[in-house]
């Protein structure tokens, strides 16, 4: 093994376990021994330098506060609208079947009320978001 190969082994072994052949070369080569010593010193310095980062004490409290404002999206965003339209359709159908005004006027009233309440709901959402 020559110096170049030994130095490649030193650089390539990240857990300190070099092949015996590389260690044999280092034992008999002053230049590679100095190379190894330099890299061991560098490794120690880097280990000390990169101490485990610490989050501040308020990290989780801050995160939970933000999570409270932005809950997990367990339901699709459009679910309130679907529920609104679905329940208006059901109410219109029941009214058409029960009330003595005929289907046409009840459907017209149902469509108007559905549209009107949708607009009111949108406006209310806008006010609540503010």
């Amino acid at each position: 093994m020559d110096c170049r190969q030994a130095q490649e082994e030193i650089l390539g072994t990240l857990d300190g376990s070099r092949p015996a052949e590389a260690d044999g070369h280092v034992a008999s080569c002053e230049q590679c021994a100095a190379f190894l010593a330099r890299h061991m010193a560098l490794d120690r310095r880097l280990t000390e330098f990169f101490e485990a980062p610490q989050l501040s004490a308020g990290f989780r409290a801050g995160l939970r506060r933000r999570m409270g404002h932005e809950p997990s999206r367990l339901w699709p965003d459009a679910l309130p609208d679907l529920v609104h339209v679905g329940s208006c359709l059901a109410a219109t159908a029941i009214c058409a079947a029960v009330l003595p005004f005929g289907v046409g006027p009840v459907l017209a009233a149902g469509a108007t009320i559905t549209g009107g309440t949708y607009v009111v709901a949108l406006a209310a959402r806008g006010w609540l978001d503010v």
């Binding site: 990240l14 330098f49 990169f50 990290f59 801050g62 932005e70 997990s72 999206r73």
Partner: protein, 166 residues
């Protein structure tokens, strides 16, 4: 990690999120710190990352491992923060750098300067390698690179730092 998957399968998102936070909060913060190089900004971005993970948990489909999924969110969020930071710096060129909270020794500053001279990907690889207790697999997952590529970046970074120390 298996426990998190099991909880997600049973749609117990809150419990899964708590485990995710316990297991990966420090790792994600280390990643954000490595990419953003500013503790305050990194902590804020770590909150953003976990907030996004919380919102995205119901949509987790299990195709990627949980850490891979979380690290992808972390990488993208850090890149967005970096772009915003770069825009902010362009907007206010005269702004002074934020002061460090702790005094640093000369040796510390010297090593910091040498690390800053490395190509960005080598600096990130070597930083995460030492922060993540020398786990090549963890660094590879965080940087979304094959393990061989991470080893190669580490090899080059160590060579360059060694030459700077001569």
């Amino acid at each position: 990690m298996e426990e998190i998957r099991r909880l997600l399968e049973h749609r117990k998102f809150r419990a899964a999120f708590e485990l995710l936070l316990d297991g990966y909060e420090r790792k994600v913060f280390g990643m954000a710190l490595t990419m953003l190089r500013n503790p305050g900004r990194a902590e804020e971005t770590t909150q953003d990352i976990f907030l996004k993970a919380w919102q995205a948990l119901p949509g987790y489909d299990g195709r990627a491992a949980v850490p891979t999924w979380l690290y992808a969110i972390a990488r993208n969020t850090c890149l967005t923060a970096l772009r915003a930071e770069s825009y902010r710096r362009t907007e206010s060129l005269g702004e002074a750098a934020e002061p460090r909270t702790e005094p640093r020794s000369d040796a510390h500053i010297d090593l910091e300067r040498r690390l800053a001279l490395l190509p960005e990907i080598q600096r990130q690889a070597i930083t995460l390698f030492y922060l993540e207790e020398r786990s090549i697999a963890e660094v590879a997952a965080m940087l979304d690179l094959p393990e061989g590529t991470v080893k190669s970046h580490l090899h080059r970074a160590r060579r360059a730092l060694g030459e700077m120390m001569e």
